[in-house]
Symmetry: C2
Subunit: 283 residues, 2 copies
């Protein structure tokens, strides 16, 4: 693999960089980031080999665009302007329609692969980068037919070499599904955290009474607002739809409880137990 440029040396960009080093140890990894201290840190940690800037992108075999989704929309056209014919670029953003729309008429559209690796932790920055983050994880590839076949192959074989399974989808379908299966979870976590913190003025009480159940439901409330605000903005209509459904379900649950309808409460919970089988892939 020729030179790799990682734009955004955080959790995701950094983790891909580490995996590239494992699979292609001779590849030089260049880092680009507006956050200068993150860039230094990434260099110190050995996550990247050299610092670079956007005007060097013609030297790249692969460019990984791993910045918040609103920055990605601004940057991708500029990246495509700067690469050579043989460079492939992929992004990692959690919303796909807007970014695809931003470049669908770009002369180098076929050099871009629209990806969403379903992997991460609640941590951020270059020190959050881990090797093997993507192993066994799914990568959602959108509008694959709009990427040049030879360039597809290069990127997809890299994904497969680090243990990812590939799933193809339209960007529209991606944004609809991911609103339910990811974006809503983050909001539910944030609002659960807020609800508990607003009520429990004495934080000792939270600490003492919090079991692993509570911890797992608020885990995502540690996520980065810098990353998530643009995601919600760019997937606004789908996210609002999920919130409407979720709020209605909670109100319905509350109604059952107010009306002492414990059979209905029981049945709703019983039906939802089935999620265990789905997540275990036992459908």
């Amino acid at each position: 693999m020729k030179n790799v440029f990682v734009i955004g040396v955080g959790l995701i960009g950094g983790s891909f960089a580490l995996d590239i080093k494992s699979v292609y140890p001779d590849t030089i990894i260049y880092g680009i980031d507006v956050n200068k201290s993150h860039l230094e840190e990434a260099l110190d940690l050995g996550v990247i080999d050299k610092k670079a800037s956007l005007d060097q992108l013609a030297e790249a075999g692969l460019v990984i665009l791993a910045v918040p989704v609103d920055k990605a929309i601004d940057l991708l056209p500029i990246v495509l302007d700067n690469i050579s014919d043989d460079t492939v670029v992929f992004d990692v953003g959690s919303t796909k329609q807007n970014i695809c729309k931003a470049v669908n008429k770009h002369p180098k559209r076929r050099n871009y692969l629209s990806a969403h690796p379903i992997a991460g932790t609640e941590f951020s920055g270059p020190k959050a980068a881990v090797k093997g983050l993507f192993k066994g994880k799914t990568n959602i590839i959108c509008e694959v037919e709009n990427t040049a076949f030879k360039l597809q192959e290069r990127v997809l074989s890299f994904f497969q070499s680090i243990g990812m399974r590939i799933r193809y989808m339209s960007s529209e379908a991606h944004d609809q599904h991911i609103a339910y299966v990811s974006h809503l979870s983050h909001i539910s976590s944030f609002m659960l955290g807020k609800t508990v913190m607003d009520k429990e003025k004495n934080e000792r009480d939270i600490f003492d009474m919090a079991g692993s159940g509570f911890e797992s439901t608020v885990r995502l409330a540690k996520s980065s607002p810098e990353m998530w605000t643009p995601i919600f903005r760019l997937n606004k209509l789908n996210v609002i739809e999920t919130l409407d459904e979720y709020i209605n379900n909670l109100k319905q649950f509350k109604n059952y409880l107010e009306n002492d309808d414990y059979d209905s409460l029981f049945n709703e919970m019983k039906k939802t137990n089935h999620i265990k089988d789905i997540l275990n892939g036992l459908t």
Copy 2:
């Protein structure tokens, strides 16, 4: 420790039984359970030594009442009727006011310690029992002054020998706090699972797009409706209060999004990041 009787040989009762065996290897552990196949299973697995019935309770040094909270309210008076003066009984239920009220005039009230060990997994039944489940976990003890001092000592030293930290609280305060820090999480998980399952008719999409974030927020949706319906019923008013707050917070979030108020969205999430420090005990 003289004979121990475990009423309800599920996850919690079974796990305490395993810990008793570790700390007091010569103690005989008797199991009582209306579910005969659970009782057999607990015997086969070595979680209990013998099967027993309620009329044998006078032989007990310690009785552990680990059944759903509504059953506990019915059973505790009968248990207290049957024990000797030197027996101590503790329960493990997730709601405390009702059970304390049910026995506060009982002649043997002082033989009862009202406890809520903050520990568990989403699994159920004797095969879910694990050794060391309670290590490092908090046990909330309510109305401790209503338990005879000598009997308190016996139970509390057992809890400490298996690594639990003790926190004292009134049963009223317990039920208020636990509604926020535990009961609401379970409802949020169940309703998140329901929302996703109702929308995602093709379960493959859930499986493909579910990351560890989604999995952690719906983990509690695998919980037992048999256990949780009575908990919500017996803590109804507090739970409804938490649902009101949570629903309002979600609606507010939705409003910010509808009105493109991204500064407010950002700030709410930023404030909630603080939960990380609270859970790490860094307040």
